[in-house]
């Protein structure tokens, strides 16, 4: 009896600490095709879609947050703070993620896109899936470190704070500073300062270092 009570209490505490809720919405945000508002609770297996000029901030529990930007589609595949960690699948659009600092394997935070996967070790980073001449994934790290890997690659690349990569069918670029990422809005806490990064990729395809002017 005591064991049952203890177990119930533990589950209650765990749900308080690691509950997943929508913290903020702007514009049309859908959870499994139903429009949602702030404080909606979600669970693993749920899919978020945002419309044009929309965004949502999700609390993944345990100090991790996800900002889903406009015209994005994200599947919360697993959120398992007890054993395997979290896995977010991103089909299109842009996100900013803040993963809590890793203390054990259970804190692993992984994001996958059609062309790449990222293993996160307590960090803030930006991911965008863009259909340009080909399907690209852009990722840059604001704080901490991210392990990046192309879908068909066996080797991983470590992307440090201030660096970014482009990943497509040709593989993963060498990590380096991407000047256009300086304009990104990283705010996840204060609603007044939260801004969309809609035009972020506009300059991503222009590489001043790659162009000679002689």
């Amino acid at each position: 009896m005591y064991k049952l009570l203890f177990l119930s209490f533990s589950c209650f505490i765990h749900s308080l600490c690691f509950s997943q809720t929508v913290l903020y919405t702007r514009g049309e945000v859908r959870l499994n095709d139903t429009i949602v508002q702030k404080e909606t609770v979600f669970k693993p297996g749920d899919r978020f879609k945002t419309g044009e000029n929309a965004l949502a901030i999700l609390d993944l529990g345990s100090g991790s947050k996800l900002k889903v930007e406009s015209a994005s589609e994200v599947l919360i595949e697993t959120i398992d703070h007890a054993s395997k960690g979290s896995l977010i699948q991103m089909a299109r659009g842009k996100i900013i993620a803040r993963a809590r600092k890793i203390e054990s394997q259970k804190d692993l935070f992984n994001i996958s896109t059609p062309t790449a996967s990222f293993g996160v070790r307590g960090t803030e980073f930006f991911v965008a899936v863009e259909q340009a001449e080909e399907l690209d994934t852009w990722m840059c790290v604001h704080k901490g470190q991210v392990i990046a890997k192309g879908r068909h690659e066996t080797q991983t690349k470590v992307v440090n704070q201030g660096e970014g990569v482009r990943i497509n069918k040709d593989g993963t670029s060498d990590p380096r500073f991407l000047p256009w990422t300086k304009k990104l809005n990283w705010e996840l806490d204060n609603p007044e300062d939260i801004a969309a990064n809609d035009g972020a990729l506009k300059d991503a395809y222009h590489d001043p270092l790659g162009q000679d002017y002689d």
Partner: protein, 244 residues
């Protein structure tokens, strides 16, 4: 004081007369105008480029240039390249010659229609300056002039603030003779530049700044070696088209 003034005037007159006899006359003004039209095309890690140039370079005679080149990107930041250039109007130290009518006076050989081939090997690096948004680049070029087998080394250092619309920058270029002359530096140019995006593929580049040439007339038949420096202000306007 009067004695000093007279002595100074005499010294000045003497130096002018010395220059007049040994140094070819300088152009009336120190302004040069240069213009390039370039096209660039990328194939994976390779980049081809072709350019033509016209210039009113009074200190070098008017030059016309056609150049083709190929660059290979070794890493994200480093490239090497090979360029072949055909130019007319170039001037070398060996073009500092006695006048036919009066061998005690010197002049520049007419080189306006002299065609020369030049081979260029280069290595360059471009990097971001931390997270400032500024980019710096350094380029080293080895030039071989087939006309007289002269070789020189050109170095360029640049700082650019890449922006949408207009990207301002500062550059310096140096040229060092390798197998001729007796000075360490024979050309210098420090300039400000602006890269203007006319369209995403077409850019206009404006450059302006002071420079100089340092000429050396080699010792010939017992005559002394002479030097002269031609300072100038160069104005350059270029158009670059990027196919990719």
């Amino acid at each position: 004081m009067i004695k000093f003034s007279c002595a100074f005037t005499l010294l000045l007159a003497f130096s002018f007369s010395l220059q007049a006899s040994n140094i070819p006359p300088r152009p009336n003004n120190g302004r040069e105008y240069i213009s390039h039209a370039r096209v660039f095309k990328k194939w994976q890690d390779w980049q081809g480029q072709a350019e033509i140039a016209l210039s009113d370079r009074k200190f070098r005679a008017g030059t016309r240039k056609t150049q083709v080149g190929l660059r290979y990107q070794i890493t994200t930041h480093e490239k090497i390249g090979l360029h072949l250039s055909a130019q007319t109007g170039l001037r070398h130290n060996t073009d500092w010659i006695p006048r036919a009518t009066n061998p005690s006076l010197f002049t520049w050989r007419q080189t306006k229609d002299r065609l020369e081939g030049i081979g260029i090997l280069e290595a360059q690096t471009k990097r971001w300056l931390g997270r400032t948004g500024l980019a710096w680049d350094a380029r080293l070029r080895w030039l071989y002039f087939e006309h007289n087998q002269f070789q020189s080394l050109q170095a360029k250092l640049g700082l650019l603030w890449p922006r949408k619309g207009v990207s301002p920058g500062l550059n310096t270029e140096f040229s060092f003779p390798l197998n001729y002359g007796d000075t360490g530096l024979d050309e210098f140019w420090a300039y400000g530049l602006a890269i203007i995006d006319i369209t995403p593929r077409l850019k206009q580049i404006l450059k302006v700044g002071p420079g100089f040439y340092r000429w050396t007339r080699p010792e010939v038949l017992g005559a002394a070696t002479y030097h002269t420096v031609y300072p100038n202000i160069r104005f350059e306007i270029d158009f670059n088209y990027y196919f990719q």
